[in-house]
């Protein structure tokens, strides 16, 4: 089967900084792919280029065989790619339920989505464990709940592919465990996942496959165990906590 997302030769320069150089990456339908790399290695930039936040300096992205390079963020979301931000965010002034309602109102039902009908906003809140806070203003949520709300928002936008940028950053152990439980269920609901995180334990729990970025280049890509044993990868994390 052809990959759900195919990134070819993707480059991004910010002035003199090369954030990505010639990255090739394919995400297979139904998997949970991990992307790791040191700070500043270009992980977030990779997501930003795929989701249309930044125009690539070179290369292409195709989603389910369709070229989506350089489309606007809202168009990419509507095509079926959902994402959460490294900085957890929500519509702070609006109620939690209203947040999720908005998130579901601007996407047509995805061809690839296995769920018909898609879960209601309240069901999604229930899924991430925030149903009891539905009437609260999103701005008053504690940080961990805000991250979970971000996940609910992205899910409400009916993605076939979900990109998660450090979804566990700032979460405590209990919240992280809950998150792992949620993310693991997603492929079963027809949602392919690509996740960035620095927490290797978390990545080992979630991902069977890892890709490693260093200075904007992909230096490894393969089964999690093999990648973490790769001397090139160990080299990058020299002195780190691998």
């Amino acid at each position: 089967m052809s990959p759900i997302l195919e990134i070819r030769g993707l480059s991004k320069r910010f002035g003199g900084v090369t954030a990505l150089s010639g990255v090739d990456l394919a995400i297979e339908e139904g998997e949970i792919l991990g992307v790791v790399g040191p700070n500043g290695s270009g992980k977030t930039t990779l997501f930003n280029v795929v989701t249309g936040v930044h125009m690539p300096s070179g290369g292409s992205v195709s989603f389910r065989g369709r070229d989506i390079t350089g489309l606007k963020p809202h168009a990419i979301s509507r095509a079926g790619i959902g994402y959460t931000f490294q900085q957890a965010m929500a519509f702070a002034g609006l109620r939690v339920l209203e947040n999720v309602q908005i998130a579901g109102e601007h996407v047509r039902v995805n061809a690839g989505a296995s769920h018909h009908p898609w879960p209601t906003p309240l069901a999604l809140l229930d899924f991430v464990g925030l149903a009891a806070l539905a009437d609260e203003r999103a701005g008053v949520l504690p940080f961990g709940s805000l991250r979970l709300l971000g996940l609910a928002l992205a899910l409400a936008s009916r993605p076939a592919l979900l990109l998660l940028d450090e979804p566990a950053a700032g979460l405590n152990d209990r919240e992280t465990a809950a998150l792992v439980g949620l993310v693991r269920q997603l492929p079963g609901h027809g949602i392919t996942v690509c996740v960035i995180d620095h927490d290797m334990k978390l990545m080992q729990m979630l991902c069977r496959r890892l890709a490693v970025l260093d200075f904007g280049s992909k230096i490894a890509d393969g089964p999690t165990g093999a990648v973490l044993a790769d001397p090139k990868v160990l080299d990058v994390y020299l002195g780190g906590d691998l």
Binding site: N39, T51, V53, K72, P73, H74, S77, R78, G82, Y83, F85, Q86, Q87, A88, M89, A90, F91, A92, G93, L94, L97, E98, Q101, I102, A103, E105, H106, V107, T120, L122, A131, A134, D135, R137, G139, V140, L141, P142, F143, L146, L153, A154, A156, S157, E166, A169, G170, H198, D199, G240, D241
Partner: protein, 347 residues
């Protein structure tokens, strides 16, 4: 269970915000029974005409979070459309309404597309510049726009055969238009469309990530506010019988922005309160124009510093604080801590 509770609650609270406004407007409609002076009626009519434009501005500023500093220009496009149509095609008041609404909406789109592209604070400056530009174009439009002297507009306003030009009748008609504007603005605010605009106001990046075409909706909100402004312009032109470019230049625009901020742009009662207050304050305090400008300035600073949600919300807050002491303060503190998210954990 939760699912059935929420929509009911929000529908009732939504109605609760509109009802007081309609009740107040009904009371205002009874004022002619007290045989008020012509001066009072004229002042009230001008205020009401402003309030109609303010309801559009509240959709733009209160819901979408973008401020227009050239809004009087949109009112002007409506007013000039009415005057030119009346002169060239003998078009009456009622036909002028949709025509002017369309003209102002188009003007808003023409201004909005380049202005909203630059985004953020530049939009304020662009709308201000376009406002000035319109005044210059009208001033130099020769006989067609009547140049600096402007245009006269003659011809009665009739409704079902009745002459509405009489001051009291015009007053009642303006009150009806204000009520319609309030209901329209309320309907927008409480629709999924209004929710989309609020999402854009709260976080454009997140909105875009959820499939919202931020640019198109911002232009759309500006166009919607243009429709209100165009209608307001027709009422103004027919009320005054004479319009000129300076009426739609920078000062009137600043006043409109000031009124919506003082009253509160997010609440349905805000535009009404702001429009009435700014119109009648100098009258009540017996101020000359220079003094009233100073008072407006002070009011605006006071509202921005003390009641950032506007007068109505501020008064409501004070009431709640008096009724249940301690509660609102705690809410505020929670908000403050939530806005500072912990820094990312790095390994």
């Amino acid at each position: 269970m939760i699912a059935s509770r929420q929509p009911n609650g929000s529908a009732i609270s939504a109605l609760r915000s509109l009802l007081p406004v309609l009740v107040v407007l009904a009371l205002i409609a009874l004022v002619p029974l007290l045989s008020p002076s012509n001066r009072f009626l004229s002042l009230a009519i001008s205020a009401g005409i402003n309030v109609i434009a303010l309801y559009g501005l509240s959709v733009l500023f209160g819901q979408t979070g973008i401020l227009s500093m050239g809004h009087a220009a949109l009112v002007g496009v409506g007013a000039y459309t009415a005057a030119i149509l009346a002169r060239d095609l003998c078009t009456g008041f009622w036909l002028a309404l949709p025509a002017a609404a369309l003209a102002s909406a188009l003007f808003a789109m023409i201004v909005g597309i380049p202005s909203l592209r630059v985004g953020g604070h530049h939009f304020v400056i662009m709308t201000f510049a376009f406002g000035q530009l319109l005044a210059i174009v009208l001033t130099n439009g020769g006989d067609y726009t009547g140049a600096a002297t402007g245009l006269d507009l003659v011809g009665p306003v009739t409704l079902f055969g009745a002459d509405m030009s009489d001051l009291t009748r015009y007053y009642l008609m303006v009150v009806a238009f204000v009520a319609a504007a309030a209901v329209a603005s309320w309907a927008i605010i409480n629709s999924p469309y209004g929710r989309t605009l609020r999402a854009i106001r709260e976080n454009e990046r997140l909105a875009a990530s959820l499939g919202i075409n931020v640019g198109r909706h911002k232009i759309g909100a500006f166009v919607v506010s243009g429709i209100f402004a165009g209608i307001s312009g027709v009422l103004l032109a027919h009320f005054l019988g004479h319009i000129s470019p300076t009426q739609f230049a920078s000062f009137p625009s600043i006043y409109l922005a000031l009124m919506v901020m003082i009253g509160g742009a997010r609440l349905i009662a805000g535009p009404l309160a702001g429009g009435i207050l700014v119109a009648f304050l100098p009258e009540v305090l017996n101020l000359d124009p220079v003094q009233s400008r100073i008072v407006y300035g002070v009011c605006l600073i006071a509202v921005i510093l003390l009641l950032p949600e506007g007068l109505i919300a501020g008064v409501g807050q004070v009431f709640r604080r008096l009724l249940a002491s301690g509660q609102p303060k705690q809410e505020r503190e929670e908000l403050d801590t939530a806005s500072t998210t912990p820094s990312e954990v790095r390994r």
